[in-house]
Each structure stands twice: as structure tokens, then as C-alpha cells.
């Protein structure tokens, strides 16, 4: 483990993907503004070429440029991250320190999260290339807006959220993590409300912002209490302090507050109320990012806090101290999400609630880690490896089918809206391939083999069951750890969720299209490419997910 110090070239090499995003961000800010502007030296009439402002050069005035730059940046960053992942071993890890404080740590665990973030944002950026981030259909509006700077703004916000998310992934200090979280959150708040012409967009953005900032404030309050308790916000010091002192009323309260902050990010019940409004108000690629990358970011925070800080602690019965709380939260979240999704007529709200349900499944898996001290699983590491690997795999493949589903709705939005289930009607006849892709995403979300969603759900359930069955010699199922019942609740919930996922298929293939919505949809090559990538990922990782599972296991091992 090498230890970098201060800023040097070594560090730039280590943090290649992050610097790539940063440079891309600067380019998007500067390049579209290049023009024949000049600078007059004061008091003289000498004008020096200054290249900013004035009449913009033709090459840089294209409204497509910011999008292309963003796609290129994300692709480059993703490529570097994947390159690192393929090369690295679990033992690798590089610390970035500043003034004797651990700021970042680059290892497989943080990198795989970056891969999730960048993949989601890359797909969303590709999908946004051809479509305006607004719903208006009048041609004069389009001209106005196309030439407007909104294109640049949109992609700048995407890249800042990418930067924020990667800071969260790398952070080794609660405060750094919080800064990254806020950077990403604020970018997404604006992205949600980017749709400012529509009431739904502004309303969703406002709600999301208000609830989100309250949750952040509560989390920050928790952080300050943690600091009060331990005198440091460094992960390793918090862990050591926890081991030495154990749970005190102060630390438990702090932990609770911090959990609220992250629970909002993963939209766990009862902190999920803003999510359906935000998802349905935002344009589809952004909603897809919220449901995948943003959720993975919250999950990452939860893992950092719960696993690194609290796993050394054990209850008298051999489980982590937060296990009961988290178990209840998981059960409520998955059930609530599924039942609410049953009654949603708006497909985006339906997907939002299904994303709440998926948050519940992930929380159930985290709960299982808390039962690590149970029988066969003789150390926290084994339980963590199994479950964390399953979670990583789940979040990784979720990018493909969750985002893909949102993108299909995005194609419909280009036609004039996807706010009712009936907007999907007749898609099977109008666009057979798009309908097939949507159906694949739906059954993957429900967990039907041979889709990636099945494999990920299988891994999560396997992780829970493995921890719950423990030594393997039970005299009855009642002897298994109670997290086994969470697995049962999970499969029952999967069955419930089948109702609303199948309904999408039925509407697409059974219902006649609405008035005025006949024939093929507006073309949009880039969004279709993104959907095709998602569909390929959904099927491919379901059939041959072995390599990715291996990668996730290594990444989970590097967390220890």
C-alpha cells in the first residue's frame, strides 16, 4: 500500500478518472464559449484576441457539442475505471493523504462504485444527446432552446454529479464523503427541476430539494455528533473509537441521524415520499440516474457507516447493534414500495416505487451482514464478502434494466408524454423491438430468469440464506437466524411485484394505442443505442454473469 502525499504527479495518475471528469467539466464550460472576442487594453485602442465571447466559432456553436463532450468524458473515465478493475487485485489500495489525514482511498471497492456511477451517467448522457431535456414540442421553442445554453448546463450538471459521486466512492473521511454527497445531490436537484417549463418538473424538483436538504441537514447533525463523540471523522479512527467505546447513547443517536441522511438517498421508506414526484417530474434519463447511480451512492454511504464503523461491535446474541432497526426498515420498505407500485397508473411513479422496493431488498441484504456472528460464518469478513458482492452485482446490473426502462419511457416522452400507463399501449405493434426491450427490463426487474435481474436477486437471497442458515445443522427452520424470514418476505414481494411489471407487458401488447399515437415513434438514434446497450447488458449478465460476480467478490474483499 503506497501512500501518496500532497499533490504530485503520482496522485494525478492514481486519480485519472476523476481528473478526466474534471477536465471534461472545464472543457464543457469553456469550449462552447470560444469565439472571436477581443480584449481591449485599457486606455489604448489595442485589441488583443481573447477567444472568449464575441461571435462564437461555428464549430463550437453546435448545440450538440456539450453532449458529445460529456459522452466522451464519461466514456473515457469509465474506460479507465474498468481498466483499473480488470488489472487490480483485492489487496491493492492507494491512500491519498493531505496533512496526515486520509482523504481518498483507491481500491477495487471504490472503483467498482465509480464504474456503476459512470456507466449510469454515460448511458443517460448518450440517451440525452438526441432529445432536448424539455418536453415542449413546438418547433420554434426547439430552435430557441437548442441554441440556448441549456444544453451546456445540462451536461455540466451531469459531470458535476459524476464528480460528486466519485468523491463519495473514494472518501475515507465522513466530512469528505459529505461534501461529495452534497455536490452530487445539488446537481441532481437541479437536473430534476431542469424541466422548468412543466409544473410537474418544478414541483418534483422543489419537493426533492426540500426533503433532500432536510435529510442532509439531519445527516450533517449526526456527523457533528459523531465528531463530538470521537473527535475525528476519519473512518479508521471512528472504527477504532467504536471498538474501544462501543455504543453510547451519543454515538447511537449520531448513527441514527446519519442513517436518515442516507436512507433518503436510497429512498427507503418512510423517507421515500419525494422520490415518486421527483422521478415523474424529471426527464427520463435523469430519473434513471436517480434510480441507479444516486441510489448506489446512498447505499455506498450506508455500507461505509454500518460496516466499517459498526461491525466490530456485536450484540450479546452475536449480531450487530443496528440489525433490528435495519431489518424493520427493510421489511417496511420493500412491502410499501411494492404495494404502492401496484396502484400507480403513471409508469414513472411505478418505476419509482419499484425502486423503493429494490431499496428494501438491498437493505435486507445489509441486515444479513449484521447477523454475521451466527454459527458457520465465523467472522464478519465472510458475511460481508458474500453479501456485499451480491449487493455490488445487484447495483451494477440494475443500471442496465432500471435505466433502460426509464429510457424506453424517454422515447415515448419525445412523442409527448409517458405519464399514463396507456401511453405505452400498442407499443408491441408500433415498435416491436422497443417493446421487447421494455418487456425484458420488466421481467428482469421482477427477477425472471435468464435475465440479469434474476441472477442478482438470486445472489442477494443466497447471501441472506447463507448467513441465516449458519452452521448448517438446524433442527427446524425456526433455528435459522430471523433474517431468513426477510428472504421469504423478499420472494413473496417479488411475486407481488410481478403484477405491475406484467401489466406493462399486457398494456404494450394487448391495448390499442391511444388516439393520435399510431405508427412508429419519433426516431432518436442515440437513445435507441442506449436502450440497445441496456438490453444487451440485461441479457448478457444474466446468462454469463460469472466474470462480473468474480469482480464483485474481489471488490467486496478489498473493503475489508
Amino acid at each position: 500500500m503506497s501512500t501518496g502525499n500532497e499533490f504530485d504527479t503520482d496522485m494525478i495518475e492514481t486519480l485519472g478518472p476523476e481528473f478526466t471528469v474534471f477536465v471534461g467539466l472545464l472543457l464543457i464550460m469553456v469550449v462552447p464559449n470560444l469565439g472571436n472576442g477581443t480584449f481591449r487594453i485599457p486606455g489604448t485602442s489595442i485589441r488583443l484576441p481573447w477567444f472568449l465571447g464575441g461571435t462564437r466559432f461555428k464549430a463550437v456553436a453546435s448545440p450538440r457539442l456539450p453532449g458529445l463532450l460529456a459522452v466522451l468524458t464519461m466514456a473515457l473515465a469509465l474506460f479507465q475505471v474498468i481498466w483499473y478493475l480488470l488489472d487490480a487485485t483485492p489487496a491493492d489500495g492507494q491512500d491519498i493523504m493531505a496533512g496526515g489525514v486520509f482523504i481518498f482511498k483507491v481500491n477495487m471497492f471504490s472503483r467498482i462504485f465509480e464504474a456503476i456511477f459512470f456507466a449510469a451517467l454515460l448511458l443517460a448522457a448518450i440517451a440525452s444527446l438526441d432529445r432536448l431535456p424539455i418536453g415542449s414540442q413546438k418547433s420554434d421553442d426547439i430552435d430557441v432552446l437548442f441554441n440556448n445554453r441549456r444544453q451546456a448546463d445540462f451536461y455540466i450538471l451531469m459531470l458535476t454529479s459524476a464528480l460528486g459521486m466519485s468523491v463519495v466512492a473514494l472518501a475515507q473521511d465522513m466530512f469528505v464523503l459529505f461534501v461529495g454527497l452534497e455536490l452530487a445531490s445539488f446537481s441532481t436537484y437541479i437536473l430534476v427541476a431542469f424541466h422548468k417549463e412543466s409544473r410537474a418538473g418544478s414541483e418534483g424538483g422543489a419537493k426533492y430539494f426540500i426533503v433532500g436538504s432536510v435529510a442532509s441537514a439531519v445527516g450533517l447533525y449526526g456527523l457533528s455528533m459523531l465528531y463530538l463523540w470521537s473527535g475525528s471523522l476519519q473512518f479508521h479512527e471512528l472504527a477504532a473509537h467504536w471498538e474501544a467505546q462501543g455504543a453510547t447513547s451519543l454515538s447511537m443517536m449520531a448513527l441514527g441521524f446519519v442513517l436518515v441522511g442516507f436512507a433518503f438517498k436510497i429512498s427507503a421508506a418512510p423517507f421515500h415520499f419525494a422520490a415518486p414526484d421527483a422521478y415523474s417530474g424529471a426527464n427520463s434519463p435523469v430519473a434513471g440516474v436517480l434510480a441507479t447511480a444516486s441510489k448506489a451512492m446512498g447505499m455506498l454511504g450506508l455500507m461505509r457507516v454500518l460496516l466499517i464503523i459498526t461491525v466490530p461491535e456485536a450484540n450479546a446474541d452475536g449480531s450487530a447493534i443496528w440489525i433490528g432497526l435495519l431489518g424493520v426498515l427493510a421489511a417496511v420498505t420493500m412491502t410499501w414500495g411494492n404495494i404502492a407500485a401496484l396502484g400507480s397508473e403513471n409508469p414513472k411513479r411505478m418505476l419509482a416505487y419499484s425502486s423503493v422496493a429494490h431499496a428494501g431488498y438491498m437493505l435486507a441484504a445489509l441486515t444479513a451482514i449484521g447477523a454475521w456472528n451466527w454459527g458457520l460464518v465465523d467472522n464478519a469478513g465472510v458475511a460481508m464478502d458474500v453479501v456485499v458482492a451480491a449487493l455490488l452485482f445487484h447495483m451494477f446490473v440494475l443500471v442496465f434494466f432500471k435505466l433502460g426502462a426509464f429510457l424506453v419511457l424517454g422515447v415515448l416522452e419525445m412523442e409527448g408524454g409517458a405519464s399514463r400507463l396507456s401511453s405505452l399501449a400498442g407499443l408491441g405493434k408500433r415498435e416491436p423491438l422497443l417493446a421487447v426491450a421494455m418487456f425484458l427490463f420488466m421481467i428482469s426487474l421482477a427477477g425472471v430468469p435468464p435475465m440479469a435481474g434474476f441472477l442478482s436477486k438470486l445472489l442477494v437471497i443466497m447471501g441472506i440464506v447463507e448467513v441465516a442458515t449458519g452452521t448448517g445443522s438446524l433442527s427446524s427452520i425456526g433455528d435459522a437466524h430471523w433474517v431468513w424470514w426477510l428472504a421469504l418476505l423478499m420472494v413473496v414481494n417479488s411475486a407481488i411485484s410481478m403484477f405491475y411489471y406484467l401489466r406493462v407487458g399486457v398494456v404494450m401488447y394487448f391495448h390499442e394505442p391511444e388516439e393520435g399515437r399510431k405508427g412508429p415513434l419519433a426516431s432518436g438514434a442515440s437513445i435507441r443505442i442506449a436502450i440497445a446497450l441496456c438490453a444487451i447488458g440485461t441479457v448478457a449478465f444474466g446468462l454469463v454473469g460469472g466474470e462480473l460476480i468474480e469482480l464483485c467478490r474481489d471488490a467486496a474483499e478489498s473493503l475489508r
Binding site: 430468469p449 435468464p450 427446524s476 411475486a495 407487458g505 399486457v506 460469472g546 468474480e550
Partner: protein
């Protein structure tokens, strides 16, 4: 050269179907209509080739084994490849006396179903879905890996869901969703049971063979995993299979699915998909948890009896021909449960042969219903009278099918029923009154429905009103061929049941001895 025929029979139809579906989906509707006939022909040729391969395998002409080896040895044509190495998941295929008859049956029914629905004008996507269904069904029967088994188990739902949804009757939307959700719910619970079992094993493996060996080793000297756990896992696994079978009280999806499904879908559903449930019972819970089976013997018998009696009584009250046939399937599936619960080698063999015989007879019943619907646009039993007069072919096929289903001697169904009755008498004595009574009810509803459609009216025939005065057509040549083929096989296996019965008998004897059950 060693060719992996089984994997080919699973993968090729699925790939062919995906290829055909993509090919046709790229075309505009006008061009697609031209593709109907070639696609149908392609599907037919592929299914015929699969039938040829299965038959040649049975005859020992290809591969390194024949029916002898399949009957006497454990698994033949076994091949194994690594699938997902990181989880220890393999692609393992093989057939034994339990699965081979089902594989052969699937390959037999596919071409016949395609012939029977040759003129349905179902468009270019119907037959590819049929191929996908066939491939997935064979996948279920040949899978020797738990993961692979489950993947194909669920995969069969997707083509069937679309077949019902796209070409079904009036309430197809409801029926398709009900079908999918019922079976999916049951199978996820089964999956949790399988996974729990996986982690409780001493040597964790997904291989069904190794699991069975491990279980029997532990069961010989006590209870594998402990009786309590064994019972719970047995219930969880059985639930998945009972819903698929279906047995009362989980049977309510079946009449809906059958009535709404298109003819071809019904034929495959009744012919093979229901058998997946019975097959799964033998392959997993019964082979793994014989002690739990002994504990639940009486309950399973009661479930079987209730299905049998309930199905038959409901049949009496049906006015819809297809619904009646669907409930008669529930009734016949009850026979399989009775066979299992008899815990006799004879009873098990009867159950296996019932699976096979019903797999040939019930498609014929549904083909008759389909022809009825196709030509007369009605399914009401009372809608038409005196069919013998104006549609002799359909009337004859109907009569033959009905007779075979109610167990006429020399036809395949009789063999299974007779064997069951004997075994049941050994096991439960005077309880035999109930299945005996049901045979009488079965005869009653079949004869009554025949009387009302075929004969009544005599010279003065009454064509169905739904024809609006048009001349009454008889079935077309393709349907005739399908009916003749099904009838021929019904007679063949009625006279020479030993073709597959010996194989099944060997399997049940060795299985019972292996599991330490019954008087084998």
C-alpha cells in the same frame, strides 16, 4: 464423434425462435404476412427434426445408448459444461427413465401441434414461440443442475404468456396474468426452499444427482437435515410443483388459462407443461426427502382425491366444452398424486404412465375443442346437435378422444388407471370407493356431453347459431392428420404400453429401493 444431442434439442429451437422473431419483427406488416408460410414450415421442420433425434436416441441409433441403457442405468447422454464457474453452476444434461418419456413426448407433440393449428392464420410469431416453448420444456426435463432447471422452469412461462395474451379468447389478458403470477409465486417459494437446502448441505452443490446421492446417504441412517427442516423444505418445494400440476386448491388458474389459450397453447399446456409439475415432484422433493414424503403421504393422497373428485364434479356442471376438458385435466392430475401417495412401485409407475398417456390424450381433446371453436365459432356444449351427421370426422375424433380420456380398455389411459386402482387398493383398501366413483362420474360427463353434441337431434341436425346459416364445415385435412396421429399413438400405447412403461417401471423400482421406500 460424440454429439451432445440433448443440449442441441434445448438450444437450437430457442435460438431458431429468437432468430425468426427478430427476422419477422423487422418487417412491415405487409411483408410479414408473406413470411407466415415459410416461418411455419421452418418451425415444422425443426420440430420434426427434434422428434427424429429423440426417436433415434430411443432406438439406440444415434449416441452411445438406447432405450435399454436409459431404462437400466441412471443417466444417459450426460454432458456437463461449466456455466457460471464462480457460483459452481454447470450446464448439465442427461436423461433417465423418468425424464426420457417426457422429452420424447414433448418432441412428439410439437410437430403434431403445429399440424393441428396449421391453418389458424396466427401470424409469423406464433410458431417461433411454439419452438421456444418446446426448447424450454425439454430444458426442464433434461436439466441436471438446479440452477439450469429453475431457469428453464421459468423460461417456459414467457412464450406461454405471450401465446395466451396474443391469440387467446376474450378474457385472455386476465388469464395470461393469472397464469404467470400463480406459477411464478409458487416457483419463487420453491427457489427459496432450494437455496435454503443448498446452504444446509454438507457439500454444497447445484448438481441434482450429487444432491440426491448426498441426501440418500444421510437418509439411510436418519433424517437428512433433520425431520423438521426436511418437512418444511418439502412443503416449499412441493408448493411450486403442486401449483404447476395443478392440484386443488391451487388449480384455479388452469381453467382460465386453458379456456383463453389458443388451441396450440392449450395442447402444449395440457400435454407437457402440467407434467412439469409431476416431473419436478419426482425429481426433487420425493428423491430428496423420502421421509417427509412418508409423513405427508396421507395429506398428498387427500389433495389428490380432492382434485380428482372436485374436478370431476365441476365437469358435470360445465356448458363450455373447453372448460370441461380443462377440469378433466385437474381430475386426471389428481390421479398422479394418488399414485405417488400409494407409495407402491406400481402406483408410481401408474403415475408416470398417467403423465405420459394424458400427455397424448389431452392434446387430442384440446385439438377437438380447437377445431370446434375454429369451425363453429362457439364452445357451448348445447350450441350444436347431431354433429355425427354433418361433421363425421370431428364427431369421430371427439368420440375417440373422450373414450380414451375416460379410460377405455386398449387405449393408453386405461393402462394407467388400472395400474393405479390396483396400487391404490393395496395402499388404502376401501378408500378405493372414491376414485372408483370418480371413474363413473368421468364416464357420465363425457358421455353426456357427447350425447348432447354428437347424437342428439338424429336426422334433424341443428347447426350452431354462431354460423349464421352458413354450411357446416368438417375439420380440414391438417386437423385430420393431427387427430389421426394422436389417435394412432393412443392406440399404440394402449396395446403396447411396455414401450415406455418398462422404462418407467425400472425407474420406480430402482428409485424406491434407492430411497428405502415401499415394498420394492
Amino acid at each position: 464423434m460424440n454429439v451432445d444431442y440433448l443440449s442441441m434439442m434445448v438450444i437450437l429451437p430457442i435460438l431458431a425462435s429468437i432468430f425468426l422473431l427478430i427476422l419477422t419483427s423487422r418487417l412491415d406488416p405487409a411483408a410479414r404476412a408473406k413470411f407466415d408460410a415459410p416461418v411455419r414450415m421452418a418451425a415444422f421442420i425443426i420440430s420434426l427434426a427434434m422428434f427424429a433425434v429423440a426417436t433415434l436416441m430411443f432406438l439406440g441409433q444415434i449416441g452411445d445408448a438406447g432405450w435399454n441403457d436409459i431404462a437400466f442405468n441412471t443417466f444417459e447422454f450426460q454432458e456437463s459444461y461449466v456455466w457460471i464457474e464462480q457460483l459452481g453452476i454447470t450446464w448439465t444434461v442427461g436423461v433417465d427413465g423418468l425424464s426420457f418419456p417426457m422429452v420424447w413426448l414433448t418432441t412428439l407433440l410439437m410437430p403434431i401441434t403445429i399440424i393441428a393449428t396449421w391453418n389458424e392464420k396466427a401470424g409469423a410469431t406464433y410458431f417461433p414461440l411454439m419452438l421456444m416453448l418446446g426448447g424450454a420444456l425439454i430444458g426442464v426435463f433434461v436439466a441436471l443442475d438446479m440452477f439450469m432447471f429453475y431457469v428453464f422452469w421459468e423460461l417456459t412461462l414467457i412464450p406461454m404468456f405471450f401465446m395466451i395474451l396474443k391469440w387467446g379468447g376474450k378474457d385472455r389478458k386476465y388469464a395470461a396474468q393469472k397464469f404467470f403470477i400463480y406459477t411464478f409465486t409458487a416457483s419463487v417459494i420453491m427457489l427459496l426452499g432450494l437455496l435454503t437446502m443448498y446452504f444446509l448441505m454438507d457439500t454444497q452443490t447445484f448438481s441434482i444427482q450429487e444432491m440426491v446421492v448426498q441426501a440418500s446417504g444421510a437418509n439411510a441412517s436418519g433424517f437428512w437435515l433433520g425431520l423438521e427442516v426436511q418437512k418444511i423444505l418439502f412443503i416449499m418445494l412441493m408448493l411450486g410443483f403442486l401449483v404447476k400440476l395443478p392440484a386443488a386448491p391451487f388449480h384455479t388458474w388452469l381453467p382460465d388459462a386453458h379456456v383463453q389459450a389458443p388451441t396450440g397453447g392449450s395442447m402444449m399446456l395440457a400435454g407437457v407443461m402440467l407434467k412439469m409439475g409431476a416431473y419436478g415432484m419426482f425429481r426433487l422433493p420425493i428423491s430428496l426427502f423420502p421421509h417427509a414424503l412418508e409423513e405427508f403421504q396421507f395429506i398428498i393422497m387427500m389433495i389428490g382425491l380432492v382434485s380428482l373428485v372436485w374436478g370431476a364434479i365441476v365437469c358435470l356442471g360445465q356448458t363450455n366444452l373447453k372448460k370441461m376438458v380443462a377440469y378433466s385435466s385437474v381430475s386426471h392430475m389428481g390421479v398422479i398424486l394418488l399414485g405417488i401417495a400409494s407409495m407402491q412401485p406400481l402406483g408410481w409407475a401408474a403415475a408416470l404412465f398417467m403423465m405420459f398417456a394424458h400427455g397424448i390424450i389431452s392434446p387430442m381433446l384440446f385439438a377437438v375443442c380447437g377445431a370446434f371453436k375454429h369451425h363453429y365459432h362457439s364452445m357451448e356444449i348445447g350450441a350444436m346437435r347431431g354433429m355425427a351427421k354433418h361433421s363425421p370426422w370431428l364427431a369421430t375424433s371427439m368420440m375417440f378422444g373422450w373414450m380414451a380420456s375416460l379410460g377405455l380398455p386398449l387405449l393408453a389411459g386405461f393402462v394407467a388407471e388400472l395400474m393405479l386402482m390396483v396400487a391404490y387398493w393395496y395402499a388404502y383398501g376401501w378408500w378405493i370407493i372414491f376414485p372408483g366413483l370418480v371413474l363413473a362420474i368421468t364416464a357420465a360427463y363425457y358421455l353426456w356431453s357427447m350425447q348432447r353434441t354428437i347424437f342428439e337431434g338424429g336426422e334433424a341436425t341443428q347447426p350452431p347459431e354462431s354460423l349464421h346459416g352458413e354450411p357446416v364445415p368438417d375439420i380440414d385435412n391438417f386437423e385430420k392428420i393431427a387427430m389421426l396421429l394422436l389417435a394412432a399413438f393412443t392406440i399404440l400405447f394402449g396395446i403396447m404400453p411396455w414401450i415406455f412403461l418398462d422404462m418407467m417401471d425400472m425407474w420406480t423400482r430402482s428409485a424406491m429401493a434407492f430411497l428405502g421406500l415401499g415394498g420394492a
